[in-house]
């Protein structure tokens, strides 16, 4: 069974800085995997390499066995990948619904001629896009705010919206970049539940970058730890918590 995502000895150099160094790991289909490491370890860079925002300096990235090194970002996305962002990238001036519809429309396409005349498949596809989007908003609890401007939502709900938007792309691999950043304990608990829910319901493979250790340890059966661009440990939560390299990275070396 081919892995959903596989990195084979991937390295990324920015000038003289080795952001990612000889990273190799595999995420099997349907897995919920955590990617942890101190700040600056290279975790977001891994995301950017997978989605084609950066080119790899060496090594291979494979999605379901297919090499995606040379693909442009939008091409990678159309292979079934979706991503959320550390610093939120919602379309702040647009409504909540429109944010999700912009993603949902990718699966309900119609042509230019139909668009300028509102004939043909326009009506049926638009209806479908709208209905799918509203259903997703129901799912994440944002349906009552569908018309609200995305930028005016409370922070926790904005994060939820971004996740909803990512899911409406119907991805097979979902990359979540610090979805709990800035949340309080209660919001993290709700987010945990949401992520577990969507993991189960949509049968996604999820790769999750997070700093909230309790969250990662609770929901990820498989965790990868990075430091200085390299993988320093990989295993179950218990294995990671007791791994000397991980402890050293976070807490410093024992004297």
């Amino acid at each position: 069974m081919t892995a959903a995502l596989e990195l084979k000895n991937v390295s990324k150099l920015f000038g003289g800085i080795q952001a990612v160094s000889d990273m190799s790991f595999k995420i099997e289909s349907g897995e919920l995997t955590g990617l942890i490491g101190p700040n600056g370890a290279g975790k977001t860079t891994v995301f950017n390499l997978v989605t084609g925002v950066y080119d790899v300096t060496s090594g291979d990235i494979e999605l379901k066995g297919r090499n995606v090194n040379k693909l442009k970002t939008f091409e990678v996305i159309s292979l079934g990948v979706a991503r959320t962002f550390q610093n939120l990238r919602l379309f702040a001036a647009s409504s909540v619904l429109e944010n999700v519809m912009t993603a949902a429309q990718q699966h309900n396409k119609y042509g230019f001629l139909e668009a300028v005349t509102h004939l043909g498949r326009w009506r049926s596809m638009e209806k479908q896009t709208r209905e799918e989007s509203m259903a997703l908003l129901e799912r994440v609890g944002l349906a009552d705010r569908a018309g609200q401007q995305a930028g005016t939502l409370p922070y926790g709900l904005q994060r939820r919206l971004e996740i909803a938007r990512a899911i409406s792309l119907r991805p097979e691999l979902l990359l979540l970049d610090e979805p709990a950043a800035g949340m309080n304990a209660e919001e993290v608990v709700q987010l945990n539940a949401l992520i577990k829910d969507i993991h189960g319901d949509f049968n996604l493979s999820i790769l999750l970058i997070e700093h909230h250790m309790d969250m990662v340890m609770e929901i990820c059966p498989h965790i990868i730890c990075m430091n200085f661009g390299a993988k320093i440990a990989e295993g179950t939560p218990w294995e990671i918590q007791n791994h000397p390299e991980v402890l050293k990275a976070y807490l410093g070396a024992e004297e």
Binding site: T44, N48, V53, F85
Partner: protein, 294 residues
Amino acid sequence: MNTLIQQIVNGLSLGSVYALIAVGYSLVYSILLFSNFAHGGFLVVGGYICYFMLRSLEAGIWISSFAALIGAGVCAVIVERLAYKPIRERTSVTLYMLIASMGMSIVIENIFVVTIGGRFRALPPVVPMQPISLFAGATVSAFDLLSFVTSMIFLAALQLFLSRTKWGLAIRAASYNLRTAGLMGVNVNRLISIVFFVAGLLAAVGGIFLSVRYTLYPQLGSMITTKAFVAAVIGGLGSLPGAVAGSLILGLSEMLAAGFISSQFRDIIVFGLLIVTLIVRPTGLFGKSVGEKV
């Protein structure tokens, strides 16, 4: 060969005047990160002040120039306070300031059109124009020599200001990050006013020389602004040495094209260089490309 030397000299002279304009524009760009389309307006203001002092008040060239420089500097500060400050205090979207600057450029230009008329005005012949012999049989007019030397003097003065004075240091810091400079205790509003004053002053110097060369009319500002933009882009937006380099390249190209091909080709060369630069190396000679953290 004579023509070649002649045109090179002409090109350097023209380029050095462009440099005054382009440097002022790049200075503003490096601090506020937007293209001030009204920059040419300061040039025209300087030109008209000088013209009227010479013509109507029959003042000497030194006093008239001094008044023009100060007047243009003050005008620049006023424009900034009226049109740009309210916008930059409310939003970091530079597009709005860009559009406002376009508006100010039109306003300044047309205030002159409406009040004193758009006809061409020649400055009284107070600037020496006689030909001076150079080597290899080429002649250069005293005017070209004078404008080149004057431009170099002002550019050197600017360099001293930026490298040796406290405000110069503040400006250099601000060109890296305006907000951080403010957090370090720099009075940001005053800094911006100083930058605009300097930019306006330099533009006025250029404006006086350009008025003599092309005669003075309200649209002179936009025509020169466009060329200064091209020069700044060629040299690298936001880079001062780049602005000077780009201006000299532009001046030389224009004069060589005019001398060896045709004078219609002059303007085409200007935009041709722009498009080539933007396609081949958009950051120009010395500009830095700023990536975005995703």
